[in-house]
Subunit: 221 residues, 2 copies
């Protein structure tokens, strides 16, 4: 009856003490960040772009409902996004074996290590599609590459993790969190990956994105 | 940014006052039940089979983390299972249109109306399969019908709803709740449906079920 649910939490604040209060919640050693920029893509980010905030990522097997409430003696971080790791919903066996073989692991902390977190919400029209219709968008078909083939060309240099938020609570302003890490030298390639995924001729899935922004960070610890 | 998450809660207790405390949480009129039997299928149910308990089902847009804690003045119900409605993960457009056209709606409360709730947990091996491998089990292939085709033969007489629990909390002892309603006269057909879904020659998906039990009820209100 062992279950293996892992939740991820990202917290940011201008005051490092506020994020440090969450250090003990981490099952594994947490990661630390310094925000470089918050970049709107579709719609506005929930906070004004603000460089310099410090951030923390931790993973835990404790459900998020137990995140302590804020208060004068226990201020909540300025930004907090979270999600849960799930099985892959669109990747077939062949593509998964290929990804497992070639995918880059997370990078060590360094001034050279860039991390980008991208919360994404898709439209009601997307969620109203049936499984085969959604699946189609991930495949190489009808003269365009689709999500999986585009991403596949970048997995060696750019580490990627996916978390889910949809159906976890009512207020969730995003359905997914995609988290990337890469060496600063690979930033042009990462920007190319984003540009390709947002080209609706080659990846029509992106038509259904109704909210998206990027949180650019240095992974410092 | 309107979201439409719906959680379902089923509560049972020997004392009707305990379940009645939850009446005000229901977004729509709740349903009331009397338990007929709790039947083990794979593994043991979490409570001893006990007829006569009263039950309540309510749907809500409030996340389950706010379910009030118990206490001497506010006893928790003896049994409480819950889940969230999601999009369909394996049904293609053609099958969905067919289901939407033919599926039976819920039945009015009556001594004639039987409701059966079936919590199901699948094995780690199931969740380790890729999307295409899981999808295969639902389809009519390789000389066997599979889940969708079997279920399709019963939808006119038997109402069915599916809720998810996996990834909502760590302790979840089940991945899904399937909820059925039918007229007492259709009980033999319902038993045939269960028997067909559990015949691993015709529905090999069922090999992956590692915990399952049935809660048989009369829908009285």
């Amino acid at each position: 009856m062992t279950r293996s649910c892992t939740w991820v939490h990202f917290l940011w604040d201008t005051d490092e003490r506020t994020v440090n209060r969450y250090l003990t919640r981490s099952a594994d050693p947490p990661s630390r960040y310094r925000i470089l920029d918050v970049v709107p893509v579709v719609g506005a980010p929930p906070v004004a772009p603000s460089g310099g905030m410090c951030g923390l990522r931790y993973e835990t097997t404790v459900p998020p409902s137990s995140l302590a409430p804020g208060g004068p003696d226990h201020p909540r971080p300025i930004m907090h996004v979270w999600g849960v790791a799930q099985h892959l919903h669109y990747t077939d066996r062949h593509a998964r074996v290929d990804l497992d073989t070639r995918s880059r692991h997370e990078l060590p902390p360094s001034e050279q290590t860039i991390a980008v977190l991208i919360p994404i919400r898709k439209s009601a029209a997307w969620w109203g599609l049936s499984q085969d219709e959604r699946q189609e968008f991930f495949l190489n078909k009808a003269g365009r590459e689709g999500h999986i083939a585009i991403g596949s060309r970048y997995v060696e240099g750019i580490s990627r993790r996916l978390y889910h938020r949809r159906y976890l609570d009512q207020a969730a302003p995003y359905d997914f969190l995609t988290y990337f890490e890469f060496d600063r030298l690979d930033e042009p390639r990462f920007r190319m990956l984003l540009s390709e995924l947002r080209d609706v001729r080659n990846n029509p899935e992106w038509v259904y994105v109704e909210h998206e922004y990027e949180i650019w960070m240095t992974k410092v610890g």
